[in-house]
């Protein structure tokens, strides 16, 4: 709902930074939100809005950040691709594919050094699996048996490049990673409840000291790679494929099922949606009303004056 509101307003030209929307991929962070604790760490990617929110990140601060306002979560210096909320241990996202993966592994190392029962969660896409740093990071996590969970959202495309030109046909990402010596599970493309169980089990195994776990979820991005439009007409994927994925969207299916099961639930869903709607609208109002940072702030904060944790 957040992403769709961004889409509606993006053409106004007030959100002057690239946005990589999570529409279509929300069921994975939704399952994630129910499986982890507030003090667990998470890092994510350029397509990180849903991850940030699923960790409990502040919605107002995220929208304000996309608007480049001083009340933004990175004070206007990061934009949509650099989200952070240290209150909920959401530690950062990165515009560079694969860049946040070793950072998540480093957080896991720090957990081990400090001997707490936290875990570190790393969101990544199928494209990041092609980066060298992914293998380096998985390898180190495996060697040191670190409390880290890799959550791979396989949406089939790296920008416009399909998996077929990037990875060998028939090779499963998760099975390949299993060959590197860590546990893995493969999620479902349409059933959010079974995905949530998978996520909870993986989280519990990692937390109890079983070492790293790799989760792969098949999913589909509805809108263009970067921006607010649909782009099924430009020639890299088909409308049929899009409709096929839309028809099995885990959130819509769950909504349908719950509405059919009971009128009460149906009413409850409606009221939840209304309340989210007003929360989203309030966030946009907050962002629009917030001041821009002072121009001179561009030159501040290159170096830290003191340690900030």
């Amino acid at each position: 709902m957040v992403e769709e509101e961004i889409s509606r307003r993006y053409p106004e030209g007030k959100m002057r930074c690239p946005v990589h929307l999570s529409s279509g991929q929300e069921s994975i962070p939704a399952a994630f939100a129910l499986s982890i604790k507030k003090d667990d760490f998470a890092v994510s990617t350029h397509r990180g809005h849903a991850h940030y929110l699923s960790k409990g990140g502040n919605l107002n601060a995220m929208i304000a950040e996309i608007y480049g306002k001083s009340t933004g979560c990175s004070k206007g210096k990061g934009g949509s691709m650099h989200l952070i909320d240290r209150n909920v241990n959401f530690m950062g996202t990165s515009a560079i594919v694969g860049n946040s993966i070793p950072v998540g592994v480093g957080l896991a190392l720090s957990i081990k050094l400090k001997d707490t029962d936290q875990i570190s969660c790393i969101f990544l896409g199928d494209g990041a699996v092609e980066e060298g740093v992914f293998y380096e990071s998985v390898n180190f996590a495996a060697v040191r048996k670190l409390p880290v969970i890799f959550i791979c959202e396989n949406n089939l495309y790296s920008v416009y490049s399909p998996l077929s030109v990037r990875q060998p046909k028939g090779r499963s990402i998760a099975k390949m990673v299993e060959g590197m010596g860590i546990e893995m599970s493969i999620g479902n493309d349409s059933d959010i409840l079974s995905n949530q169980k998978l996520m909870e089990k993986a989280v519990s195994n990692v937390r109890s000291g079983d070492g790293p776990h790799f989760l792969e979820f098949p999913t589909y991005r509805w809108r263009e790679h970067c921006g607010h439009n649909f782009d099924n007409d430009i020639g890299y994927r088909s409308q049929e494929e899009f409709l096929e994925w839309q028809a099995k969207d885990p959130l819509s299916l769950l909504e349908k099922k719950l509405s059919k099961d009971s009128i009460d639930l149906s009413k409850k869903l409606l009221s939840i949606k209304e309340s989210i709607d007003s929360e989203v609208l309030a966030a946009f109002e907050f962002a629009e009303a917030s001041p821009f940072p002072d121009q001179l702030e561009a030159y501040e904060g290159v170096y830290a004056e003191e340690e900030t944790q």
Binding site: K75, S110, K114, G301
Partner: protein
């Protein structure tokens, strides 16, 4: 005070830092092996345990990201590479990540990591074991770049780097590792961002760094015999650079020669010349100049490195030219040592 080597000074700084602060960890390929990075990491694992001192996979990029992640949860990593050149595999993490983290997230997270990089020279180190890339790192906002010359500065500046809340690139020239100097005991911190006047003079300012400081001092002593009093400034920190010390000295001497151990184009010496020319043009008595390494990879064969490095003789000649003096005796007075490709008898290779 007893004389200690540069490597011993580094080792003392690491012991001191790990003793002072249990959040300091130390890792890198070979950190715990029998050679202990030329002795610089000796006995760390014995004293502080395998959790805090460890060898690592050959994964320079990811292990730099690991340092960033650990820093986000309060761990101060000291990561070591036996040659700077290997660290080029980690440019994404250091440039896109560590350097920008504090700025990019609105000042909410500091990244206190120290990357020790050792620069090789001679004994056939060749094109990919000898690069002095201080200018590259200095180009990136958010990084600090430190390049100490003396053993005392090596210890004091490594301690200051480890406890600095920012990512610091700490450059050790291999030819300095066996140099001797007085090194105080304990937690001696030498502030980053302050250059040191290592020889006071009135006629010309020589700005230099790291191993090039040794050659510059040889040249300055020779020039003193010839009646030219050089003021030698050891930069010590490349970024942030101590412009005050340079400008004050040039104001006094009216002349500048900037020395550099890196390639000429885009070098730190070029930056020094540019800034001095812009700010002190009206008081300069002659055109500012520089001497850096040629824009050529360092070759491997000892036959090819003959006459290749900027040495005391080249510096002395350059200065004498600036004063319109005859330089015909300089090469004879300051001959290239034989063998020319080692810092001293102690250096027997292989690296």
């Amino acid at each position: 005070m007893s004389q200690k080597t540069y490597t011993k000074a580094i080792n003392e700084a690491l012991h001191e830092a790990m003793q002072l602060d249990s959040s300091v960890i130390c890792y890198g390929l070979g950190v715990t092996d029998p050679k202990a990075i030329f002795g610089t990491t000796a006995n760390l694992e014995n004293k502080f345990g395998a959790e805090r001192v460890f060898d690592m996979p050959t994964s320079e990029n990811a292990m730099t990201g690991v340092a960033i992640g650990a820093a986000l949860n309060g761990i101060k990593s000291v990561m070591t590479h036996q040659r700077l050149d290997f660290f080029l595999l980690a440019m994404d993490q250091i440039v896109n990540g560590a350097a920008k983290w504090h700025y990019m997230y609105g000042g909410q997270s500091s990244i206190p990591i120290t990357i020790r990089l050792i620069i090789g020279r001679g004994w056939g180190q060749g094109p990919t074991h000898s690069q002095n890339l201080q200018a590259w790192f200095a180009h990136i906002p958010g990084l600090k770049v430190v390049m100490p010359t003396s053993p005392e500065d090596a210890k004091g500046m490594l301690l200051a780097s480890i406890f600095d809340p920012n990512p610091v690139i700490f450059l050790e020239h291999r030819w300095l590792h066996n140099t001797l100097g007085e090194v105080p005991e304990g937690d001696i911190r030498v502030p980053l961002g302050k250059a040191k006047i290592v020889k006071v003079g009135t006629d010309i300012t020589l700005v230099t760094m790291s191993y090039m400081t040794i050659e510059t001092l040889h040249a300055a002593n020779y020039l003193e015999e010839k009646g030219i009093m050089c003021e030698v400034i050891d930069l010590r920190t490349i970024k942030p650079l101590d412009w005050n010390t340079i400008m004050n000295s040039v104001t006094k001497t009216g002349r500048l020669l900037a020395l550099d151990s890196g390639f000429t184009t885009g070098s730190v010496s070029g930056e020094v010349v540019a800034r001095v020319a812009m700010e002190k043009f009206s008081i300069l008595k002659s055109a500012p100049s520089r001497l850096a390494m040629p824009d050529v990879p360092e070759p491997t064969s000892p036959a090819l490195t003959k006459g290749f490095y900027v040495r005391a003789a080249n510096i002395a000649e350059k200065v004498m030219n600036m004063f319109g003096r005859n330089t015909s005796d300089v090469k004879k007075d300051l001959p290239e040592p034989s063998p020319h490709d080692v810092p001293g008898e102690w250096f027997k290779g292989p690296f």
